[in-house]
């Protein structure tokens, strides 16, 4: 428990910066909606005529003239990509940062099984992800209420829930990678998030690449899929399998790793 609290304290600056940045950007988008509502019908027609570009971002199936359509396109992108970067950063540095910052020697010469260290660090990352999503969701609900729109609770919960799962998946995968690294892997984490995002864009462009939706966690965070009721169980299951592999890899590798 003490390690868990220590990890939360160490990660609090990054947590608040990312949370504030995401909440601010998303709420700014929500507050822009009333002013843009009238223009969104025309914008929707414009986006609809942009072929592959429209499909890549799922805008061919969303009405950006409605609050939830607008929210899924704008805020969904911010939360999806921003949350993925945060989760990857937190996951990939969870274990590797101790060796990078030379604190591993201090930590690992205390009588703690390495498995408990991995558990404490993973738990801290997951709690931060949950906390960030909760705060962002609450502020999003509040901002939708403030602009006088009816709050679409179910759709918002589904979309935010999917984004939270995406972050959990990426954080767990990155924690697995982290156990193999000796220096910080911020570049690897950010790169993984960006690659996963691109894989989903490719999957949206052509049916031949549709299988990529099972590899990229962005495949089950698509607002258009969530709102139109596309079955996402298979994609989520594939994602959670990857998360479990990441966690198992972290325990296996860190348990027998030489700390230099």
């Amino acid at each position: 428990m003490i390690l868990f609290r220590h990890e939360l304290r160490q990660g609090r600056a990054a947590f608040w910066i990312w949370t504030a940045a995401l909440a601010l950007l998303m709420d700014a988008c929500v507050f822009l909606f009333p002013g843009m509502k009238g223009q969104m019908a025309a914008a929707g027609r414009l986006f609809g005529s942009m072929g592959g570009f429209t499909a890549a971002f799922g805008m061919d199936r969303l009405n950006v003239g409605t609050l939830i359509g607008f929210y899924c396109v704008e805020c969904g992108s911010i939360l999806g990509l921003g949350g993925a970067f945060f989760a990857c950063h937190a996951g990939v540095s969870a274990l590797a940062k101790e060796e990078r910052d030379k604190t591993a020697e201090f930590l690992l010469t205390h009588p703690l099984p390495r498995a408990r260290i991995v558990t404490g660090k993973l738990a801290a990352v997951l709690i931060q992800i949950a906390g960030m999503n909760l705060i962002v969701l609450c502020l999003a609900v509040l901002s939708v209420g403030l602009i006088g729109e009816k709050i679409p609770f179910r759709q918002l919960l589904l979309m935010h829930g999917a984004c939270c799962l995406l972050q959990v998946e990426l954080a767990c995968a990155c924690a697995g990678i982290s156990a193999f690294l000796r220096r910080g892997g911020a570049g690897i984490g950010m790169g993984l998030a960006a690659v996963m995002y691109l894989l989903n864009l490719i999957a949206n462009l052509t049916d031949r690449a549709a299988f990529l939706k099972y590899i990229s966690p962005f495949g089950y965070c698509e607002g258009a899929d969530i709102l139109t009721g596309v079955p996402l169980g298979g994609r989520i299951a594939a994602g959670m399998l990857l998360a479990c592999m990441g966690v198992a890899g972290a325990y296996w590798r860190y348990g027998k790793k030489d700390i230099r």
């Binding site: 201090f106 010469t109 009588p111 703690l112 027998k256």
Partner: protein
């Protein structure tokens, strides 16, 4: 039961040699010095003892427990002072001490306060604002506050000023007298000679000498310094010879009667015969590979 016992402990990093066939015995309550220059394998050995790295071969026992299987139980009873001390930025000294005690599931407040007073360590300072000596003192308190049975220290005095070094060794002496085993790795030989009862010398990953510091220093060889003119070429058993206009200095391990005869034939204005210090033994081991020890 020994505090530390290793059997052919070996570590390879890929194809690179770390240490080979280290057979180390440190008795309980001993004050043991582990000597070797940088890269000899001191830290590798210590890291294996603490479970930070896994041996490629051999095995070891710490306080009667298996080094690999009982790692957590061993660490409960061991205090470790690393050569390089790093803490998490933003923490205060008091936070680090409480974290260390908490990770051991102990409340070490009283012992920590006593140690901080003796080492003049301000627990309110941020660790990232501390000097090297300040960080070292924080690590010393972390290593000592839970009153371990075995203290393993890697280059403990680097960064400490002479006054603090004296206080630090006074604390270690008290702990040792109370029964704590001390394993001190250093390349400051005077430190080992002054404080330790036993020592081992490591060279290129292998132990080349071990025993009591007294016995190692008492090698039979004497350091001879002569002012005047002496025919040292007539002597057998001379090494490390340095000659200057006014005289000569050498290590002599030959027949004492032969030395006296040569000195009597020469013109000696001044003569000093002394025991070589540990540094000379160490340098001898390093030059000659330590044969005969």
């Amino acid at each position: 039961m020994d505090a530390i016992r290793t059997y052919a402990l070996t570590k390879y990093y890929g194809k690179t040699r770390g240490v080979e066939n280290i057979d180390l015995t440190v008795g309980q309550g001993d004050y043991f010095g582990f000597i070797g220059p940088n890269g000899a394998g001191k830290s590798t050995t210590i890291r294996m003892l603490l479970g930070l790295i896994r041996p490629s071969g051999g095995r070891g026992e710490i306080l009667g427990l298996d080094m690999e299987k009982d790692c957590e139980r061993i660490l409960e009873r061991v205090g470790y002072l690393p050569a390089e001390t790093a803490f998490w930025p933003g923490m205060r000294v008091g936070d680090v001490l409480r974290l260390s005690a908490g990770l051991r599931g102990r409340d070490c407040g009283t012992a920590a306060r006593r140690l901080c007073e003796r080492l003049q360590l301000d627990t309110g300072r941020r660790v990232d604002e501390l000097s090297l000596g300040g960080r070292k003192k924080t690590a010393i308190v972390c290593a000592l506050q839970h009153e371990p049975e075995l203290l393993i220290m890697d280059e403990p005095t680097s960064g400490l000023d002479p006054l603090m070094q004296r206080e630090f060794f006074a604390i270690l002496r008290e702990r040792n007298q109370a029964g704590t085993t001390i394993f001190l790795s250093s390349h400051v030989l005077s430190e080992i000679q002054r404080n330790c009862a036993h020592t081992a010398i490591i060279r290129a990953g292998s132990l080349i000498a071990s025993g009591s510091v007294e016995a190692l220093v008492r090698t039979g060889a004497k350091r001879v310094r002569v002012c005047g003119r002496v025919d040292h070429a007539a002597l057998e058993g001379v090494r490390d010879l340095r000659v200057w206009a006014e005289g000569a200095e050498f290590l002599y391990s030959g027949d004492m009667q032969a030395l006296l005869a040569v000195l009597a034939r020469g013109e000696v204005r001044d003569l000093t015969v002394s025991e070589p210090d540990l540094e000379e033994v160490f340098m001898h081991c390093y030059r000659d590979g330590g044969e005969g020890r």
